[in-house]
């Protein structure tokens, strides 16, 4: 789609020009790998200039070193992972804790799988599935570099994925048009693309939901703006599944810090009282879902680069009642 036409389409969502301009020059972020180092330990050790974000384990990189972040001791030792701040949102909303059973149904190359593992202190189980066999090797090498020992991989189509297990939490980080993460994506994209992929996203979402335990939580996310890929799949699930309901998207910040992994002291989300995860905080500088889908969609989050300072994302939290 031509830039002009794209801007006009995008302006029905947000301040389009501002959004596109910011997206072209976003900062780098990194996530401290809590499986290998605590946040304080990492900060007193690293030579990188870092700025805090609202997520205690995520930092904005001030100046990228000459050889790139991949050529640092930080990266080689697996003490950090470069990941956009927006991409850290879905696991932070899912907030898995030690000992749970998690399904990450579109997992490769594993940025969010490894973040979940860190939040779980390498305990419990993550089933990391992806339909693309080639991308599973990238996933495996990230598991290795970051020291994740509580994950297994599956290579199934998410629409037909089957497992004898039922999961406490499920992440559906769906394949999408990528308008929020790739500044050039609109060049080959048109609305028809979003309408077409919507059916796949809905299929994966519905099948994932079928594997969720009663009372369990599912997070659906994409890195795009089109409603056909965001509110539409979610509303199709809600319409057809009486036992599904939207919950307010909030980020659980996690508590404490520790050299996880070997000592088994991972940073885990906080549980209060009856085993329920604490409420957390809203995603700063985010927007609610589109009002045309009804009041319920105020509970989902739309993240735009010019407001949030990182990639465009959509995050919805669904509970099975």
């Amino acid at each position: 789609m031509e830039e002009k036409e794209y801007l006009s389409w995008l302006s029905s969502y947000t301040e389009a020009e501002e959004c596109v301009r910011t997206q072209g020059g976003l900062p780098y972020y990194l996530r401290v790998n809590l499986l290998k180092a605590g946040v304080g330990e990492y900060l007193s050790w690293t030579k990188l200039g870092l700025e805090e974000t609202f997520l205690p384990y995520a930092f904005r990189v001030g100046e990228v070193p000459e050889g790139g972040l991949g050529n640092t001791i930080d990266y080689a030792s697996g003490w950090m992972h470069t990941q956009s701040l927006s991409s850290m949102l879905p696991p932070a909303v899912l907030s898995p804790v030690s000992g749970e059973t998690i399904l990450d149904i579109c997992a490769a190359p594993g940025s969010k799988t490894t973040q979940c593992a860190a939040l779980m202190g390498n305990s419990g189980v993550i089933v990391a599935n992806d339909s693309n066999r080639g991308r599973i090797s990238a996933l495996s090498s990230n598991l290795e570099r970051l020291g994740v020992i509580n994950a297994c991989t599956m290579n199934q189509d998410g629409v037909r994925f089957t497992s004898k297990h039922r999961f406490d939490r499920i992440l559906v980080d769906a394949p999408c048009s990528g308008l929020g993460s790739n500044e050039n994506a609109h060049k080959w994209w048109d609305e028809k693309y979003s309408r077409n992929i919507s059916a796949l996203q809905t299929g994966i979402l519905k099948n994932a939901f079928a594997h969720l335990k009663e009372g369990g939580v599912l997070v659906y996310s994409t890195c795009t703006y089109a409603k056909e890929e965001n509110e539409v799949p979610v509303s199709r699930l809600l319409e057809t599944h009486e036992d599904s309901r939207l919950e307010q998207v909030r980020v659980v910040l996690g508590e404490g810090e520790g050299g996880a992994g070997a000592e088994g002291k991972g940073v885990t989300a906080t549980r209060s009282g009856g085993g329920e995860v604490k409420a957390g905080v809203p995603i700063p500088n985010s927007q609610p879902g589109l009002s045309e889908f009804g009041n319920e969609f105020r509970k989902v989050a739309r993240v735009y680069p010019h407001e949030f300072g990182s990639e465009g994302f959509f995050v919805a939290k669904i509970r099975r009642t």
Binding site: V148, I149, C152
Partner: protein, 138 residues
């Protein structure tokens, strides 16, 4: 069998005792995983590589020592930034005589375990896999 041998080797050589919730699996090449994974199907081997046989001896992997090397209390070589960069670039380096015995050693930089090397007569042979190396600044 190999798992037991490797566990004794870890204890003897490095003083490492693995946490109760992890398990070593496999025959010649071992992997380490959380016990919770038992009973789950998988399309690739579970967990991460833990050791490979090199001749008669099991060599701990980089991935393994980067997670569990923190538990070691002997045969650890601490390096400054310069040697850390040389090690990560795949080079050998020399080290002053410490209380290190000939054989595999864990190389660490200010608390961060970088990987494994082979120590002999004051030199540390590099064992970092090519895929894990970084480009050194000149």
């Amino acid at each position: 069998m190999q798992a037991e041998k490797f566990s004794s080797y870890l204890l003897e050589r490095f003083g490492i005792v693995l946490p109760a919730d992890v398990e070593l699996v496999g025959e010649n090449s071992l992997r380490v995983m959380n016990k919770g994974l038992k009973g789950f199907a998988t399309s690739t081997p579970k967990g991460i590589p833990a050791s490979r046989m090199k001749g008669k001896f099991p060599k701990p992997t980089t991935a393994f020592v980067q997670v569990f090397g923190k538990l070691a209390n002997k045969n650890v070589i601490s390096v400054g930034e310069e040697d850390a960069m040389r090690y990560l670039a795949g080079e050998e380096f020399e080290t002053g005589a410490g209380d290190v015995e000939t054989g595999y050693v864990i190389v660490q930089h200010e608390g961060a375990v970088l990987g494994i090397g082979f120590y002999k007569e004051g030199r540390v042979e590099n064992m970092l896999p090519k895929g894990r190396r970084i480009r050194k600044k000149n």
